[in-house]
């Protein structure tokens, strides 16, 4: 009987280990998750692989841009092949997958598109190749704006990527809905109350539309952090990170007020239904379905949004930029400088484990030259990091875009903390925002929860309270 007991216990224990082991194999099997493309990693010296995100409905302008660049590059480099490797994943999953791919030499792409918020973290994780020497010998580098250069440069001055797009954020409002609601057009809110009151007026007078739209789900990832929470927080007197003490500000009046703003929107039914907004497709639903049907009164979103409505966009809508206008996001109480915005962007980086670093760097030069980058920025609707493109009339007068307004926001825009722990902290913000929006926590509880989680991740000594 005792032997049978041992047998049973050991088989239960082993079964349990399988269970435990199953869940964690990716942690030990480095890069195992990124092996969907077995040929990736560029074993041959004449092929370079370029990994980028692909999500939602086509067209994929980033893919077209890389294809054009690849064609030009292959022409200049006979015998060299550029292999594009689209990663079909939502933003969060893309970051995870790219990190897993770069962990292993057998899956690491040569060139990779990096969101600038992750670039510091991936640089200090040892995934990215420093490019200081390369850019210093590149004449085009002087054309890049300093603000954007700093976005792909770590605290210690290491440059990890060449920025190819940047952005600002503001409030889109529907002119027709505003008129029906008896609100002024053009609209120029001076503080948060103006925004909330406008949303309330829309709710009262224009039934059937969503008064105020902002991303609040964990599924929409960085959009929830940056477009919703940080657009609020950086309009208060507080920020996320104290650059003087190098500490994370985990509790502050501004943090609480930002969460309270979100609570107001969702508890008073001024926002979209949770089933609309709590999934990874929420951004596409907003821009490609709800806005063309003019079902959103006000939306916080980025300057690239009208790119969707171009004739070659995902959801062509010639009148889009007539029906919706872009205005600056006001600060909480209208305090100086009156408005706020957030900027980020994307860069092309080279994987540290790439075996073709020289070719990879040459490819980046081609993709980021004036002609190719201008094509991308105009079509995608992104702000350009290159000064020569910014002053080009073709770019300035691109139809169906808000380049002029969006560029004017750079006067008061903010950048996310250039700290390698930012990506982990960002996900805690998403958790806090979602739990407040769903009513699972009060703003106070969510901020306390955020405090605990951030202290665990960065260490309590690296946090402070204002």
């Amino acid at each position: 009987m005792a032997k049978r007991l041992i047998g049973a216990v050991s088989s239960i224990a082993l079964a349990g280990l399988v269970l435990g082991g199953c869940g964690t194999t990716p942690a030990s099997g480095s890069g195992g998750n990124g092996s969907s493309n077995s040929s990736s990693g560029g074993g041959s010296s004449n092929t370079i692989t370029v990994a980028y995100q692909q999500f939602g409905k086509p067209p994929y302008f980033n893919e077209e841009w890389l294809q054009q660049s690849a064609k030009a590059f292959e022409k200049d480099h006979p015998g060299v092949t550029v292999k594009l490797e689209p990663i079909e994943a939502s933003e969060n999953d893309f970051y995870t997958k790219i990190d897993l791919m770069m962990k292993s030499a057998s899956t690491a792409p040569d060139v990779v598109t990096e969101d600038t918020f992750l670039i510091n973290a991936d640089g200090s994780a040892g995934y990215l190749q420093p490019l200081n020497d390369d850019v210093n010998n590149w004449s085009d580098w002087s054309q890049f704006s300093d603000a954007m250069k700093s976005g792909s440069t770590s605290n210690d001055g290491t440059i990890y990527g060449v920025p190819y797009s940047t952005d600002t954020r503001g409030l889109y409002y529907d002119v027709n809905i505003f008129k029906k609601a008896g609100l002024p057009v053009p609209w120029n809110p001076k503080n948060w109350n103006d925004v909330i009151n406008a949303a309330k007026a829309i709710k009262a007078k224009v039934p059937g539309v969503i008064p105020f739209y902002c991303q609040v789900g964990k599924a929409t990832g960085e959009a929830t952090t940056m477009q919703t929470f940080e657009m609020l927080l950086y309009g208060t007197n507080d920020t996320l990170y104290d650059t003087k003490t190098n500490k994370w500000i985990v509790q502050s009046p501004g943090f609480l007020d930002s969460l309270k703003f979100i609570q107001t929107i969702y508890s008073q039914n001024l926002g979209p239904s949770l089933s609309t907004v709590l999934n990874a497709q929420a951004g596409n639903t907003e821009v490609q379905e709800l806005m063309p049907k003019q079902q959103i009164g006000i939306a916080i979103d980025g300057n690239w949004l009208p790119g969707n409505w171009l004739s070659n966009g995902a959801s062509p809508w010639p009148d889009g930029t007539k029906d919706y206008q872009l205005t600056a996001m006001p600060t909480e109480n209208g305090q100086a400088p009156g408005y706020t915005s957030m900027s980020g962007g994307w860069a092309l980086s080279i994987s540290k484990l790439s075996k073709n670093q020289k070719l990879a760097w040459e490819f980046i030069q081609t993709a980021c030259n004036k002609q190719n980058m201008e094509w991308y920025d105009i079509n995608q609707g992104n702000l350009t990091p290159r000064n020569d493109i910014a002053s080009d009339s073709k770019y300035q007068n691109a139809p169906g875009q808000f380049f002029k307004e969006a560029t004017s926001f750079t006067k008061f825009t903010h950048f996310r903390p250039a700290n390698s722990q930012y990506p982990s902290v960002s996900t805690q913000i998403q958790t806090a925002v979602e739990s407040v929006a769903t009513g699972a926590s009060t703003p106070e509880q969510a901020m306390q929860q955020y405090t605990n989680n951030v202290q665990r991740i960065v260490g309590a000594g690296n946090t402070e309270t204002k």
């Binding site: 088989s11 079964a15 269970l19 990190d99 964990k218 996900t427």
Partner: protein, 310 residues
């Protein structure tokens, strides 16, 4: 999924060593033949498991400085886990999910179906059998898609309700836990049914007949005769479906992603979020160890409750 094969692996290894002493020469030769499989097990099974234990005590991260320079942090992961209310919520959600979908749903429904099928005619058997087995043979991700189409906003279920003039409800957001529980019951009941069908076949007809002659009713026969006879199968089934349900990830993740909020965030989802969305691999690994402990404890509790002699 690997449970059955592990069971098979552990048994011969035990008897092998016994025979090894007795049969001497032959035993060594047998051991030599076993060697490749042991090496494979060691490399692909035990090393990852040991690594799992190790990573649970580090600050291993997917990105950032701690990814390049991982440090041993002792019990810090576990300390912060127990201080984390979302972890406690996850444990609670896991237990709720386990009780309703595995213990009550699959177990009871599976037994009920097996009893019904044992008594009904062949047509009934094949019709019900096919219907139930359909859930079992459908891959988890497909089950998730089916139920997503069924429960999503204005999905099939809302459409059916619409015929009766019942207003559409966003099921996955209004009743997320009920939705995932129903999906898992649909997916897993066939396994329990098959186990009990086999077990019921082992219940001696004579005993049941004599019980009937002694005047025992249907329920008395079920509770006094059938269930005590098959209690070994009940325990085995409990253990297997518990372990399977504890580790269930794809179905919940695809249906609700653990949300809304953390309403369906069971431990595997919480673990995934921490490891791959929040980049905290070490912390995620620590959670997986807790999952393992819960699995072992649950297995022992069943054995005890059913007074199984081992």
């Amino acid at each position: 999924m690997g449970n059955a094969s592990v069971d098979v692996v552990s048994q011969p290894s035990k008897s092998k060593s016994k025979r090894g002493f007795r049969a001497g020469h032959t035993g060594w030769r047998a051991a030599l033949f076993m060697l490749p499989s042991w090496v494979l097990l060691l490399v692909f099974f035990f090393v990852p498991i040991l690594l799992t234990f190790y990573f649970a005590f580090t600050n291993l991260s997917l990105t950032g400085a701690s990814s390049a320079a991982t440090q041993f942090v002792g019990f810090r992961n576990f300390a912060s886990m127990f201080a984390d209310p979302t972890f406690r919520i996850s444990v609670l959600k896991t237990i709720i999910f386990l009780i309703f979908s595995a213990v009550i749903g699959q177990q009871v429904l599976g037994l009920l179906l097996a009893i019904l099928m044992n008594e009904r005619n062949r047509v009934f058997r094949s019709v019900i059998g096919v219907l139930v087995l359909a859930g079992w043979v459908t891959p988890e991700i497909v089950v998730a898609f089916i139920f997503f189409a069924f429960f999503s906003n204005n999905g099939t279920f809302d459409m059916i309700l619409g015929w009766f003039h019942i207003k559409a409800i966003a099921w996955l957001y209004t009743f997320p836990m009920v939705s995932v529980v129903v999906a898992n019951i649909w997916h897993g009941t066939a396994f329990s049914m098959l186990v009990y069908q086999a077990a019921l076949g082992d219940v001696p007809k004579e005993i049941l007949e004599s019980a009937e002659i002694d005047g025992a009713g249907r329920f008395q026969r079920l509770f006094r005769v059938t269930l005590p006879v098959i209690k070994g199968s009940i325990a085995t089934n409990m253990v297997l479906i518990t372990l399977q349900t504890l580790g269930l990830f794809t179905l919940i993740y695809s249906l609700t992603g653990g949300g809304p909020g953390n309403k369906t965030e069971t431990l595997p989802i919480y673990m995934y979020q921490q490891a791959f969305s929040d980049y905290q691999l070490g912390y995620g690994t620590a959670i997986s160890l807790i999952l393992l402990v819960i699995g072992i404890i649950a297995s022992f509790v069943y054995m005890r409750m059913l007074k199984i002699e081992m």
